[in-house]
């Protein structure tokens, strides 16, 4: 009978409407799942590939870059510029200028692949903004690293102090090397004199590098 | 005549009804579309209703009668509008116009 079926359909329809309302009521009772963007931000995944950045070496508090220019050669869009200088008392060159032309960079990651000393990695910086085109055309990664190093030093004062001490020891070794050039002492021997002047930090230096390196890898 | 008692005088209502009637007749003659004429017709209905109500209020022994007549007029007006509009829509469908001049020839 058509009247009965119509009635039955109406009742069934209402039942389904009530089911829908029950579902929305249940959802409304659950906590909200959205991220309130300017206040909270999501932690980027490890494999997120932002623009490249220089890695902060937690032992020295500086970059590991030796300005070997392999990244520059690997770059398909020719957007990296690296300059290095040879500092007194250091065996390798250290970087003095590292700029990225972010307007041409295609985030391909060839530079990261090419780097022999793990000195560059992808940053997790996903909201790169600027009011000035020049800031993107010449993105000074070294300056960013210095800013990062400052924050890092404030956060981990003992590590920073150790790194500074190590640097000072190296510098002292370099200056000590000059008058005692004839002796040509081996590296541990040369380091023995500074150890005496600053005895406290040196034992701390030894266990830290391993832990520090793993930390930078994971973040 | 006291101006403050003006709303209690039957003459005012009757004159307003006459004005409505006159406006309705003028519109009925002058409007050239069917819907315009329908609106003018409604004005004439309103004039009649107002007249009934005024007489009912001031001169009728049973004040329910005039109100009932006006209710009937409203019902008839609603029926009239329904019919008239369906006719207008049918006319528009056939002639693509509801201007009374376009409809003047009668074809069997």
């Amino acid at each position: 009978m058509s009247l009965l079926t119509a009635l039955r359909e109406t009742v069934a329809g209402f039942k389904s409407l009530l089911t829908g309302m029950r579902i929305t009521a249940r959802e409304a009772a659950k906590p909200s799942i959205t991220v309130q963007y300017p206040h909270d931000t999501l932690k980027m995944a490890d494999r997120f590939r932002g623009h490249v950045k220089l890695v902060l070496d937690p032992v020295t508090g500086k970059s590991r870059c030796t300005s070997c220019n392999l990244c520059v050669r690997a770059c398909p869009s020719d957007c990296l510029t690296v300059e290095g200088i040879k500092r007194e008392g250091e065996k390798k060159k250290s970087v003095s200028e590292y700029t990225l032309d972010f307007t041409t960079c295609s985030l391909c990651g060839s530079c990261v692949e090419a780097c022999p000393s793990d000195a560059i990695e992808y940053s997790k910086d996903y909201n790169v903004v600027s009011l000035d085109r020049a800031e993107f055309a010449r993105m000074d990664l070294l300056k960013k690293l210095e800013a990062e190093a400052k924050v890092w030093a404030e956060k981990n004062p003992e590590l920073a102090a150790a790194a500074a001490a190590a640097a000072a020891a190296q510098a002292a070794a370099a200056t000590a090397k000059a008058p005692a050039a004839a002796t040509t002492a081996s590296a541990p021997g040369a380091g023995a004199a500074p150890v005496a002047t600053t005895p406290a930090p040196t034992p701390a230096v030894a266990p830290v590098p391993a832990a520090g390196v793993t930390e930078t890898r994971t973040t | 005549m006291n101006l403050l008692q003006i709303h209690q005088r039957p003459g005012v209502y009757l004159v307003v009804a006459a004005v409505l009637l006159a406006i309705g007749v003028y519109g009925l003659i002058r409007r050239r579309t069917l819907i315009g004429m329908l609106i003018a017709g409604e004005l004439i209905f309103s004039a009649a209703s107002l007249n009934f109500m005024a007489v009912n209020r001031f001169f009728a022994p049973d004040p329910a009668v005039g109100q009932i007549v006006v209710l009937f007029i409203m019902g008839l007006a609603a029926a009239e509008v329904a019919i008239a509009l369906s006719v207008i829509i049918a006319v528009y469908r056939n002639y693509r116009s509801i201007h009374s001049n376009d409809l003047s020839e009668l074809k069997g």
Binding site: - | L3, V15, V16, V19, I29, I35, Q67, I68, I89, A90
Partner: protein, 177 residues
Amino acid sequence: MSTFPFQDAILVAIFALVVGVTIGGALIAALSTRIIRGVSGLMLCCMGLGGLYYFLNSPFLALMEILIYVGAVCVTIVFGVMLSEPDEPAHEESRRHAVLWGGAALLVSLVILGGVAHLGLRGPWQEPAARVSDGSVQAIGLALLTTYSLPFELISIVLLVAILGALVIARSGRTKE
């Protein structure tokens, strides 16, 4: 209810407003070339009429007037307006023609106005000696279902037939195509 300052003056002002709305609405309804304004004028006129009915001791009819005329009749007319294109062309007829017809219409309506107004003002109206009922909603309802039950039923039949007829007429053109 307590007293109201300038009670009478305010009442008369409201009355004048209501009369003005009624006549102004009627003028808009009859004179405007855009049909949608005509419908708005009819709406205004009906609201004014509702006010007049209220002054005539019948709030029930005042509300019925608004409910039926504004809520039903005007809306139905608007529906008709939407289904056709009724705006009047600006200058279709010649100027002489317009003056002639306009003058004739004005003359006829003025004569009607004069005659009806004269009848209304000078007619042999007499106050009734006594009122049978109070004209309340209850009295209307009782009268509708006793004395006037036959016309009441007839009106409902007329409405039913009108709705069916309207449906038939409006549908017939559609099925043909």
